[in-house]
């Protein structure tokens, strides 16, 4: 039996084993569930996280035969499934709540600049980040959080979200510009060696 704590046993080998011995997939859960729980908890309200985590791992388990065994680290695959699961949950939630008249669909137009000035001047720095991330474009949030959370590389994020690497770079750049604007951070920052101003989110950094 492979040791779940043995980081030298690649995820790909465990997944491959699980083709014939499904129980081996439990080791993938033990290895990655904690980090995915943390990621999902930042992307959703707390009451949903258990469901999201369950759905993510059950979807991964049922789709394990489609896993590309040439990649030893399963994290990009798992985070990609988690991002899809989040998207599905949100669509269902928006549909449900829209019917009930409780909430507007996300991404409805809103003057973010005003919110920056009036709403996000709070004492707790991390709470400010949380509030700002709620206002960053959803497509950018996926990329930003996969960079800042599990520290996936651009290539891994591209694989996770099934988008070109250039798009990942671009979304990272635009997302950071939005985030900096929302956080009221001024000045320039370096992205892939190119200096960008947050007031110019329409970048050309690829």
């Amino acid at each position: 039996m492979a040791d779940p704590e043995d980081s030298r046993t690649p995820d790909a080998d465990l997944i491959r084993l699980s083709f014939d011995d499904p129980g081996q997939f439990a080791l993938i859960f033990e290895r990655h569930a904690g980090a995915l729980h943390r990621y999902l908890s930042k992307r959703s309200n707390h009451s949903n996280v258990d469901d999201l985590l369950s759905d993510t791992f059950i979807a991964a388990f049922r789709g394990r035969r489609n896993y590309d065994l040439t990649f030893q680290d399963a994290r990009p695959w798992l985070y990609g499934i988690a991002s899809n699961t989040l998207r599905h949950h949100r669509r269902s939630e928006v549909r449900r709540l829209s019917h009930e008249g409780e909430v507007r669909p996300e991404n409805s137009c809103e003057d973010l600049a005003d919110r920056v000035v009036t709403g996000i001047v709070e004492r707790d720095e991390l709470d400010r980040v949380r509030r700002a991330m709620e206002l960053v474009d959803d497509r950018f949030v996926d990329v930003l959080m996969l960079i800042a959370g599990p520290a996936l590389t651009y290539e891994e994020i591209a694989r996770a979200l099934d988008i070109p690497v250039g798009t990942v770079r671009s979304r990272a750049s635009r997302g950071r510009a939005q985030l900096r604007e929302l956080l009221g951070l001024t000045g320039q920052y370096e992205h892939d060696g190119v200096t960008t101003s947050p007031s110019q989110p329409k970048d050309d950094l690829q």
């Binding site: 039996m1 492979a2 043995d6 030298r8 690649p10 790909a12 080998d13 491959r16 084993l17 083709f19 014939d20 011995d21 499904p22 129980g23 997939f25 439990a26 859960f29 569930a33 904690g34 729980h37 943390r38 990621y39 930042k42 707390h46 258990d50 369950s54 791992f57 059950i58 388990f61 049922r62 035969r65 489609n66 065994l69 040439t70 991404n107 409805s108 137009c109 809103e110 003057d111 973010l112 991390l126 980040v129 949380r130 991330m133 474009d137 960079i147 800042a148 959370g149 099934d162 988008i163 070109p164 798009t167 671009s170 950071r176 510009a177 939005q178 951070l185 989110p201 329409k202 050309d204």
Partner: protein, 590 residues
């Protein structure tokens, strides 16, 4: 100044109270149990059905299933650092084995005598793509035996017999059949004979090692960098930076010609020079033989070699990616046209050697031992002495996007007068840089030299070859290039009625969605372009072959949430060519 990503990282790492994974753990376990029960139940059903039709096969399936689990467990439990020792211990053992291998005497074959070797092998075959479509679950285990006979001239005959495809579940069996594959292989046994002069390079399953260096450091370097000039070896795991162990293993697995005791000793010494090999100590093979094991963990998993330390004989190879031509077993499972299959549709797949055991020691037999229908190639006249000359030049994929790289780019040389194609009886390089250089040793004469690459969709893009006359003893320079094909769709995007200054404030994007999903911004499986796209500017999208809907959207100003999409998407079916699609939108206000 606090960095935004630093703040975000701190936020992401901040614990959100106690983490309870039990709910998810319980649900996953339930799903696993359900799957296990279903598999067991299905196996029972399959077994019952099979019992009536092929009782002997059923017994084989049970044995193989058990063997599969054992084999894989062996593979994954191999400690990376070496239970018995890391690279240093492995190097010491390998050098000792090299000494013993050098002391072996090569069997001397008399007139009419052959050296017979036999191997049992268990393969896992898989097809992942048929045509442009990804296909899951096409996977089977295939057991077989490979017998080879070599004569004193190093001519080789090979006979491979493979059994029925065995499936882990009925789902696999159904997918296998649907992909145009058959359960019972045709044309059994699969046989071939190769004259020593025709052994690699040039294809076939036999590797001629007579031209390889016996200097261990040089051999190690050539194996690690894929520069042996033996295509079967150099192309093996060409995308993997650590394929030296695998390439060396295939020289042990064979069939080879010209593998003298001196060469085998050099091979073990070369292995000792390859970093990352672990010594596993005593191990037992599937056939029950005892030897010592060595493992190597590459990007595609952990491979193991078990060898007899007293002679250097290979006892078992586990978990190796198989060369495409291995034993000819896989082609036997492809249904003949007109059945749609990987043969008619194209596609991709692979074969993994789960384990391979030589059976007994090689034996000297009479020519009469050769099966009926097989004839050793008649000795041909010794080839004329050929002086090889260097042909070198630059390589370039023209029009490739900035930063484009590809590890599947090759320079191909075909004799003048024959059809120029990668399969011609010519010569090819190992993979070359997109923008770099190549060098080949070739015979003098007229050649066509060109370049091709495999794009990320598995399509071969072949450039126009250039004629070149190579004169003996004089290095010839000829650059080669191929035009980058892609992106799949390009065109102009226009936005009418946009306010003045829109390009500075707002931005536009072009979205492509597979026709199988609803067209929307950020659709599943889609891709988009929004780099430097403004009214009237060009866009380009790199798309996999298939059916797509293309549409454009705009966002009126930075910081304003929500995209505005207007118009109807345009449908396009992509292949390896560039399609032109212009997309127009009418501005509708922020």
């Amino acid at each position: 100044m606090t960095d935004d990503l630093e703040l975000l990282s701190r936020y992401m790492d901040e614990p959100d109270g106690p983490v309870d994974l039990d709910v998810a753990r319980r649900r996953l376990r339930a799903a696993i149990k359900e799957d296990t029960d279903q598999t067991t139940s299905n196996s029972g059903t399959l077994g019952s059905r099979s019992r009536k039709r092929r009782p002997r096969v059923l017994a084989a399936i049970s044995g193989v299933a058990a063997a599969l689990i054992v084999a894989l467990l062996l593979v994954v439990t191999v400690p990376g650092g070496g239970q018995h020792g890391g690279s240093a211990a492995a190097a010491t053992e390998l050098r000792a084995i090299a000494g013993n291998a050098a002391a072996q005497s090569a069997p001397i074959l008399g007139q009419g005598q052959l050296l017979q070797t036999e191997q049992r092998v268990s393969l896992e075959g898989q097809i992942t793509q048929l045509g442009s479509k990804s296909i899951p679950n096409v996977r089977a285990v295939i057991d077989g035996t490979v017998t080879s006979w070599t004569d004193a001239s190093d001519d080789v005959c090979v006979s491979a017999t493979s059994g029925p495809a065995q499936f882990a579940s009925p789902v696999n069996e159904a997918a296998w059949t649907a992909a145009g594959l058959v359960v019972n292989p045709t044309h059994q046994p699969s046989t071939s004979c190769t004259s020593s002069g025709d052994a690699s390079p040039g294809g076939g399953g036999v590797i001629d090692v007579t031209g390889l260096t016996t200097s261990p450091p040089s051999l190690a370097h050539e194996l690690e960098t894929g520069t042996t000039q033996i295509p079967q070896l150099d192309q093996l795991m060409v995308n993997n930076q650590n394929a030296g162990f695998e390439r060396a293993a295939f020289l042990l697995i064979g069939p080879t010609v010209g593998a003298t005791p001196t060469f085998r000793a050099a091979l073990y010494d070369a292995l000792a020079d390859i970093p990352g090999i672990s010594y596993l100590g005593g191990m037992t093979t599937h056939s029950g033989a005892s030897g010592v094991g060595f493992s190597f963990r590459s990007d595609v998993g952990t491979s193991v070699l078990i060898v007899d330390p007293s002679s250097g004989s290979l006892l078992e190879a586990q978990n190796f990616q198989s060369p495409l031509s291995y034993g000819g077993v896989s082609a036997s499972y492809i249904a003949p046209p007109p059945t749609a299959s990987i043969l008619t549709e194209g596609g991709s797949g692979g074969t993994i050697i789960r384990w391979l055991d030589p059976v007994g020691a090689p034996a000297v037999v009479d020519a009469s031992a050769l099966p009926a229908g097989l004839t050793m190639p008649t000795p041909s006249a010794p080839p004329a002495q050929v002086t090889l000359t260097t042909l070198a030049g630059k390589t370039l994929i023209t029009g490739a996007p900035k930063g484009y790289s590809n590890s599947s780019v090759y320079v191909q040389l075909c004799p003048a007068g024959v059809k120029y194609e990668p399969a011609c009886q010519g010569q090819m390089t190992a993979s070359v840089p997109v923008d770099g250089s190549y060098s080949l040793k070739v015979a003098s004469g007229s050649w066509n030299v060109g370049m091709y690459y495999w794009n990320k969709y598995g399509q071969q893009v072949l450039g126009m070859p250039v004629s070149v006359d190579v004169q003996a003893g004089r290095t010839t320079h000829q650059s080669v290039e191929v035009a980058y094909q892609g992106p799949a769709v390009s065109g102009v995007v226009t936005l009418t009625g946009a306010p003045k200054g829109f390009a500075e404030l707002g931005y536009m994007g072009v979205q492509a969605c597979p026709t199988s999903v609803q067209f929307e911004i950020g659709c599943a499986g889609g891709t988009e372009a929004y780099e430097s796209i403004a009214p009237g500017s060009n866009f380009s999208l790199d798309l996999a072959p298939g059916s797509w809907n293309i549409g454009a959207y705009y966002r009126p100003a930075p910081g304003v949430a929500g995209n505005t999409y207007t118009g109807s998407p345009t449908s396009v079916v992509t292949n390896s060519e560039v399609h032109h699609v212009n997309v127009a939108m009418a501005y509708q206000g922020p």
